[in-house]
């Protein structure tokens, strides 16, 4: 993101900013022809300035895609305005496309995004790249090498043969590239992305400083919606952002204060360890928080009502023989990564085993009937290293297990069953290497084939994350598959409200506010208030924005995502949940309210209100 020359005074100082004072650098990459067309585009509005999904959706709304894997379909890679800046957690890189996984009932691919941290986005910022638009398909396995033609020269993109990377696991790819490009960071796919035809939920992995220094598999993942499959469909195995670090000047004092708040303040506290100003221990703490009231998925999202999952609580794992270390992304003080190591001979951390977040632990352990931490660590690492979304993979596994439990006479996936660790490892390997399309296609398509939709845990083809759908009727309006795009998963637990109007308001006015961090480039774990984010924007970009204006941009971005879904034919019928979600489960120690009748009324009210909001914002005239 750069400022236009007119906006700088004679001393080069910044003046008050409007969107047209900014330009962004887009590189249009025609993979079929091997040509790159860079352009500097003057921003029309704050969506353009902020980037991420705000700008990306504007791009996608002008595209018509019938097949996500059609070479003519574009894959957008971009940054948020805070990505790669001195704002702590400003590390996000976004991938947007019409998804091979998310789909309307009428069969059309739907707009989707995924994002991750790591240091790749920072390197892109140092290369003055705001956005790549990848269209076409390379003839053979290729890596894109983004670098400067000379020191301080223009940024160029070279097409490099990547045949030597074919088949390598995620970390092996990254470590090999690190040997070759010492100053670079990387976006790569694993074997799953390479076999995109049979794996619709492959992820893109972004390298981290810790990973390059330690050699351990510590990438960050853009998991949801098959963005790794999209990259694979274009025959791109890796993108290399190659430039020495660019040291910024002295941080403004306002930014220093904000960064201290990110690192030590209340907003990020739940994600920090207890030793860091009384943190809550990270997302792993959800085990101890949710399981005692049986509000945590087990056995394909049906809690057992037992204490089987207790052995996966962090304090119990820390009893040994493991050591859990809190580690961080580049220059981030939150240290949300809870990395598990074997105990070394010296009693300190030995071999790295896995980065344990609540999501992969739950969906690759409790939710598939595995309650052994050793097995869980192996599965988490296996799924990561094959380059798959742990949410989609885990939920598809649990669906297959549940199907087999109910249909022992006609099992799928080689008779995979709950708790069968050895068979699960074998099946995961087959999915991730393209040998098991049956499960690689995801829950929606598989359940349709089997006529078993009532317990297929997804909305719009995006598998549910590890929060019970029984207590979250907001899932269908999550535009990117659940908790990260519709913040309604804890409402019942914490606020205990079951009224219809409350839930309509939660979905149409509040839940989507979490999308703010999907265009600004900051991490949701920073926990910044809108006021603090406005201060950060001022400190980093000079943009003076009030909270209501920021909230309106968030709302417009959400509505644009909904409108994009409608453009591909989504109707009331698409905003749905599997029927068994609405049943009563006495073991869940929370009120039962998400009944078929409740949900039917909710759907009608939410969609009517969204209709009005789209018209109010003038977004119905697009596309």
């Amino acid at each position: 993101m750069s400022q236009t020359a007119e906006n700088k005074d004679s001393n080069g100082d910044q003046e008050a900013k409007s969107p047209t004072d900014f330009q962004f650098a887009r590189y249009n990459v025609d993979l079929s022809l091997g040509k790159v067309h860079p352009e500097n585009i003057t921003c029309e509005d704050y969506e353009d300035v902020f980037g991420g999904i705000a700008r990306g959706f504007k791009f996608l709304e002008n595209k018509s895609v019938k097949d996500a894997y059609d070479p003519g379909a574009s894959l957008v890679l971009n940054l948020g305005v805070l990505s790669g800046t001195d704002f702590m957690t400003g590390l996000r890189t976004y991938f947007l496309a019409y998804s091979p996984l998310k789909r309307s009932l009428s069969g059309m691919p739907s707009a989707m995004w995924s994002t991750g941290s790591g240091k790749f986005g920072t390197k892109l910022r140092h290369l003055d790249v705001d956005e790549l638009v990848l269209t076409g398909r390379c003839a053979g396995p290729t890596l894109l090498h983004i670098h400067r033609s000379e020191e301080d020269g223009p940024t160029v993109i070279d097409f490099v043969d990547a045949s030597d990377l074919v088949g390598l696991l995620v970390n092996d790819k990254i470590q090999r590239l690190h040997q070759q490009y010492a100053d670079a960071h990387f976006a790569v796919i694993g074997p799953a992305g390479e076999t995109y035809q049979t794996v619709r939920y492959a992820a893109v992995a972004l390298s981290t400083e810790n990973q390059l220094k330690s050699g351990d598999p510590k990438a960050r993942y853009c998991g949801r919606g098959g963005m790794g499959s999209m990259l694979g469909s274009k025959n791109i195995l890796a993108i290399v952002a190659d430039t020495p670090d660019r040291r910024g000047g002295k941080q403004p004092s306002a930014l220093k204060i904000l960064n201290q708040e990110v690192a030590r303040g209340e907003g990020s506290r739940r994600f920090r360890d207890a030793k860091k100003n009384n943190g809550g221990g990270g997302t792993w703490a959800n085990y101890a928080a949710l399981d005692p009231v049986h509000a945590m998925p087990e056995m394909n999202f049906v809690p057992t009502g037992s204490n089987k999952s207790e052995q996966l609580y962090r304090p119990n794992v820390e009893k040994g023989p493991y050591i859990v270390k809190d580690e961080s992304c580049y220059r981030c003080g939150i240290s949300c990564h809870k990395n598990v190591y074997d105990v070394g001979e010296d009693g300190k951390a030995g071999n790295f085993r896995a980065k344990v977040d609540y999501e992969p632990l739950n969906l690759l352990a409790s939710n598939i009937g595995i309650f052994n931490i050793e097995q869980a660590l192996e599965l988490i690492e296996q799924v990561d290293n094959l380059g798959m979304d742990s949410i989609s993979c885990g939920t598809t596994l649990s669906f297959a297990m549940e199907y087999n439990r109910r249909n022992p006479e006609s099992p799928i996936a080689e008779g995979l069953s709950y708790g069968d660790y050895e068979k699960t490892c074998d099946i995961v390997e087959k999915i991730g290497t393209g040998q098991l399309e049956e499960l690689g296609q995801g829950t929606l398509r598989l359940s349709e084939q089997l006529h078993a939709e009532s317990y297929a845990m997804h909305s719009k083809g995006l598998e549910f994350p590890a929060y019970l759908p029984q207590i979250n009727p907001g899932y269908p309006w999550a535009t990117a598959g659940g908790h990260m795009s519709m913040r309604t998963m804890f409402l019942l637990l914490l606020e205990r409200e079951t009224g219809l109007d409350y839930w309509v308001d939660a979905i149409t006015n509040k839940g989507y506010m979490t999308l703010r961090d999907d265009f600004l480039g900051a991490c949701k774990f920073s926990g910044m208030t809108h006021e603090q984010i406005c201060s950060a924007l001022s400190a980093v970009t000079g943009i003076e924005m009030k909270v209501p204006e920021l909230e309106r941009i968030i709302k417009r971005t959400f509505l644009r995502a909904i409108q994009l879904e409608r453009q591909v034919g989504m109707t009331d019928a698409d905003y749905d949940m599997p029927a068994e979600v609405h049943e009563e489960y006495p073991q869940i120690e929370l009120p039962h309210f998400n009944t078929p009748e409740f949900f039917s009324q909710l759907k009608q009210k939410v969609n009517s209100r969204l209709d009005e909001m789209i018209v109010e914002e003038g977004l119905n005239q697009v596309g």
Partner: protein
């Protein structure tokens, strides 16, 4: 001197927008009962059927962290600082 009790930001809407309270009691459990009698809408959101603090909260007692089930045993002294913290976190 009373004890200072802080509740999670999200729950302040059920206590007239208030997060910080000055209360007097012998234990944290008594403190919570006292708070919930003053703000009845908080009860169902903090305490289970048997009056225990829900497991998805943690307690900070003078900056030392305790699990929810320690509420009954945490003795309050004048000037103590107590905070109820939500453990459930997405991501």
């Amino acid at each position: 001197m009373p004890v200072e009790l802080v509740i999670p930001p999200r729950l302040s809407q059920f206590a007239n927008g208030q997060r910080h309270f000055q209360l007097q009691a012998g234990t944290l459990q008594e403190l919570l009962e006292h708070l919930c009698s003053q703000h009845p809408d908080l009860r169902v959101r903090l305490l289970g059927e048997t009056g225990q603090l829900y497991s998805y909260f943690a307690i900070l007692h003078n900056q030392q962290q305790f699990a929810a089930d320690a509420a009954a045993t945490i003795a309050c002294r004048d000037g103590d600082q107590l905070e109820i913290m939500t453990l459930a976190s997405g991501g």
